[in-house]
């Protein structure tokens, strides 16, 4: 299956930036490229100003995203509009902004596997491709099953990484949990994403891939996302008893658990 | 030359060394049973054994002394310590050190004391008046000749016993052979 080495034909923007690369226009000015779903976000470099995944046509991006808009943050790429299923949608967006470094756009990812999964899981999942990298966003409720299917039936036997992202702007579903999977047999890499809210837990994938053990612990350590059924759900990089989860956006870069530092290190502050 | 059997070093300050080593042995022996810490007991036992080896040396029995050092002090005591070290010292220190069998102990001690006194007072008849001419240089050879000559049978019995003990130890230690 194609991956970044062999970009699928359905991702035309590969060569797109080149002719316009000489323009050093800040890429933030992407508004103009959008055709339908205008986004009014994120020109500032401040991380908090992340684009809300919610685009106007999709009021509730977290849950079962309608196919018109890729639900996740990446889905908020400017030119996300267009016909959702056809790759032709992207080229349609192109002419709108010839002067800008048109960013590549996630497009639908069609493959037999996706069709099969779609048939099995229905609207709970969506498969997209961006920069030649395939990923699928799935509903939280599908999580153990779809991973199980990917592992058992689709030969994604290698769990490259489990990680998460924090999007405090999203109302209910603050967190993305991302599995990066690889199949040795198919030489193919995909990402599986889902969204969960703060305080929610998610089924662990350790029974499927033992490799996820520490990776999930790290996600818990850094984001506070609990994995149900994990054999040893505790902090891994930070000491046990540390308060706070540092990779959350509301955790400042200079912030520390001063109490822990004082008790355990015997100093006033680690800074 | 060295093999000359008649020429050996004259003993120097024999009584002094005898009493010194005897005292060391006694002190060591007492410490063995009075120390609460088994490792200390074992160390005291080593002192006793070494002092004993030295007394063998004074008696022109170097082979026995060497064997004493190699086997007892160097081998057996190392294994003793080996075992003791693995035992929890705290637990062993809480246990009672002496059992309460005073009567048996007293009887045994009295009997032994009586035997010593008897030997001391009437022993002159049992033992020769003077020590046998000590032939240090021939000591080892003599031991060997006796062991493999006169006492061959006893020696072989002892070795058989040891062999049985070794096999038994292996059987007990190995869960499956």
């Amino acid at each position: 299956m194609p991956d970044e080495t062999k970009p699928p034909a359905s991702s035309p923007p590969e060569a797109e930036p080149k002719p316009t690369a000489d323009k050093t226009v800040p890429l933030g000015g992407v508004k103009a490229t959008t055709s339908g779903s205008v986004q009014s976000e994120a020109k500032s470099g401040e991380p908090g100003g992340v684009p809300l995944p919610g685009t106007p046509p999709t009021p509730d991006p977290g849950l079962a995203p309608p196919p018109t808009s890729p639900p996740l943050k990446a889905g908020s790429a400017p030119a996300a509009a267009g016909t959702p299923t056809a790759a032709a949608g992207t080229p349609a967006a192109k002419p709108a902004a010839p002067a800008k470094p048109a960013a590549p756009v996630p497009t639908a990812w069609n493959s037999p596997m996706v069709a099969k999964l779609k048939a099995q899981f229905g609207s709970g999942m969506e498969a997209l491709t961006y920069l030649g990298q395939n990923y699928m966003t799935v509903d939280r409720s599908l999580i153990p099953e779809i991973l199980q299917v990917l592992h058992n039936d689709e030969q994604f036997d290698y769990c490259v990484d489990v990680t998460a992202g924090h999007y405090p702007q999203r109302e209910k579903k603050e967190f993305d949990v991302i599995w990066i999977l690889y199949s040795y047999a198919r030489n193919e890499r995909i990402r599986v994403k889902t969204q969960i809210g703060d305080g929610e837990s998610i089924p662990s994938s350790v029974p499927i891939w033992p490799a996820a053990n520490w990776l999930e612990r790290e996600v818990y350590d850094m984001f506070g996302i609990k994995f149900d059924g994990h054999p040893d759900m505790k902090r891994i990089l930070l000491p046990e008893g540390w308060k706070g989860h540092p990779l959350r956006k509301d955790y400042g870069i200079l912030q520390q658990d001063n109490e822990w530092v004082q008790i355990n290190l015997g100093i006033e502050s680690g800074q | 030359m060295a093999a000359d059997p008649t020429n050996h070093m004259e003993p120097v300050a024999t009584p002094f060394f005898f009493y010194l080593l005897g005292g060391l042995m006694l002190i060591g022996g007492v410490l063995v049973i009075t120390r609460k810490n088994p490792v200390h007991s074992a160390l005291a036992l080593i002192v006793t054994l070494l002092a004993q080896a030295s007394i063998y040396l004074m008696l022109y029995a170097p082979f026995v002394a060497g064997v004493q050092i190699i086997l007892y002090a160097g081998g057996i005591m190392v294994l003793f310590l080996f075992v003791i070290m693995l035992v929890s010292i705290e637990r062993s220190q809480r246990e009672r050190q002496f059992n309460k069998q005073w009567v048996v102990g007293m009887v045994a001690a009295t009997a032994l004391g009586g035997l010593f006194i008897a030997v001391y007072t009437k022993g002159r008849g049992i033992f020769p008046e003077h020590a046998l001419p000590a032939v240090e240089a021939q000591n080892t050879q003599n031991v060997g000749t006796l062991l493999y000559g006169q006492y061959m049978f006893a020696f072989e019995i002892a070795s058989l016993l040891l062999l049985v003990a070794i096999i038994g130890a292996v059987v007990m230690a190995k869960k499956r052979i």
């Binding site: - | 020429n7 064997v67 050092i69 160097g74 070290m85 240090e136 000591n139």
Partner: protein, 425 residues
């Protein structure tokens, strides 16, 4: 009194055997000092040789070519804080290094540096050496236990198990050598260290070559076992740095640690002395029976002096090559002075009266030094055995080999007798 002192000089016995207390004491002091110097020199040599094996220079700063490094180290160790862990068993912790050092030094009273150059000649010399050197296992066990810490304890367990195991194979090899001493007309063997060398002289062969290859195999067994016995690479598990930090002496520091160090090196010298005595002809010069005659005697007599002159020459060569810079002036002078001293010693060793007395010690030391070099070489070359492999080598390879060699030696040695008996019947 003076007569008492002088009377020994004409004797052909060791001071202990002759019963001369004064000379025995002198020998003890000389051996003690010589051993300390040897350990210091060994320390420097090991670091230098190992360094050159590993494409680096080794100590270069303290003194010319780091010659004073061991002394600086000794001073540092003596001045260091002596730390005792709070939970340690104070008395045993204190005793252990002393015990180890005592065991390591005591064995030297029977080491024969020459036919008369030993403190005493014991009838059970070899037995005594093996026995007393095995006592150092006790000291190591004490150290490991008294530290009240996991790493030293495991180190001590390893070391005691290792020493006890290898002693057996070692004993087999030693017995086969001792057996060879009895293969003469009288049929009287000896355990005396001096007697063993004299037996080799009388039989006209080093025992390493006797009953080829039996003597060689026995020697090989001993050479392996002695490395294990002294806890050196590749059998240095008790102090395996990468596993147990420093093994049984992890908790020791300063002077106490240096005692362990001293004991380790003197134990190495001691077991090498046993090997030299038993198989390599002790103090005998090469070919004592083959290359006889005044000319050959003179040739071999000249060796000690030539060796020292060679060392002096190396010093002068290095002096010439020293950087010509005021900062190095003192070092250059020191090196030249050292060379002069060595040269003077070399010249003194050419005096006939001296060279005849010294040559036994020289040959003995040279053979021991070769073993010391082997030790360093091993350390530079071999990885470390794992514990079960170490035990396997000890019990499953060396011990059966030793038993086999023992039986074969007895058989081959008694073959003429057996033949005779059968013939006569």
């Amino acid at each position: 009194m003076l007569d008492y002192i002088k009377s020994y000089l004409t004797s052909n016995l060791t001071p202990g055997s002759a019963g001369n207390m004064f000379w025995a004491f002198v020998y003890i002091v000389v051996i003690f000092l010589g051993l300390s110097v040897a350990v210091i020199a060994m320390n420097w040599l090991e670091r230098k040789i190992l360094a050159h094996m590993q494409v680096r220079l080794g100590p270069m700063r303290v003194g010319p070519h780091g010659l004073l490094q061991p002394i600086a180290d000794a001073i540092k160790l003596l001045l260091k804080e002596d730390i005792m862990p709070a939970e340690a068993d104070g008395f045993v912790f204190w005793m252990a290094p002393i015990f180890v050092v005592l065991a390591a030094f005591t064995v030297f009273i029977v080491v024969p540096f020459g036919p008369t150059h030993a403190v005493t000649d014991m009838n059970i010399g070899v037995l005594f050496m093996l026995g007393v050197s095995s006592l150092s296992a006790l000291g190591i066990v004490m150290a490991g236990w008294a530290s009240n810490s996991h790493y030293p304890l495991i180190g001590a367990l390893r070391s005691s198990a290792q020493m006890v195991s290898y002693e057996i194979a070692m004993g087999m090899a030693v017995i086969s050598a001792v057996m060879m001493t009895s293969l003469n007309q009288q049929g009287t063997g000896t355990l005396s260290m001096i007697g063993i060398v004299q037996a080799q002289q009388a039989q006209g062969i080093w025992f390493i070559f006797k009953f080829f290859p039996l003597g060689l195999i026995a020697f090989f067994i001993f050479a392996v076992a002695m490395v294990a016995e002294t806890n050196r690479a590749p059998f240095d598990l008790p102090e395996a740095e990468s596993e147990l930090t420093a093994g049984f002496h992890t908790e020791y520091s300063g002077f106490r640690w240096s005692l362990f160090f001293l004991a380790e090196y003197s134990a190495m010298i001691a077991v090498s002395s046993i090997a030299v005595t038993l198989w390599l002809g002790g103090w005998l010069r090469p070919f004592p029976n083959l290359l006889t005659g005044a000319k050959w005697d003179l040739f071999f007599f000249l060796f000690p002096g030539i060796t020292f002159l060679f060392l002096a020459g190396m010093c002068f060569y290095s002096t010439v090559r020293m950087p010509k810079h005021p900062l190095f002036r003192i070092q250059t002078i020191g090196l030249a002075g050292f060379g002069v001293v060595l040269g003077l010693i070399g010249l003194i060793l050419f005096i006939p009266a001296v060279r005849e007395r010294v040559q036994d010690i020289y040959w003995f030391s040279m053979k021991v030094a070769a073993f010391m070099y082997l030790y360093i070489w091993y350390r530079g070359t071999f990885p470390r055995y794992r514990f079960d492999q170490l035990m396997k080598v000890g019990w499953k390879i060396l011990l059966p080999m030793g038993l086999g060699v023992l039986i074969l030696t007895a058989g081959v040695g008694l073959w003429p007798l057996i033949q005779q008996t059968i013939w006569n019947r």
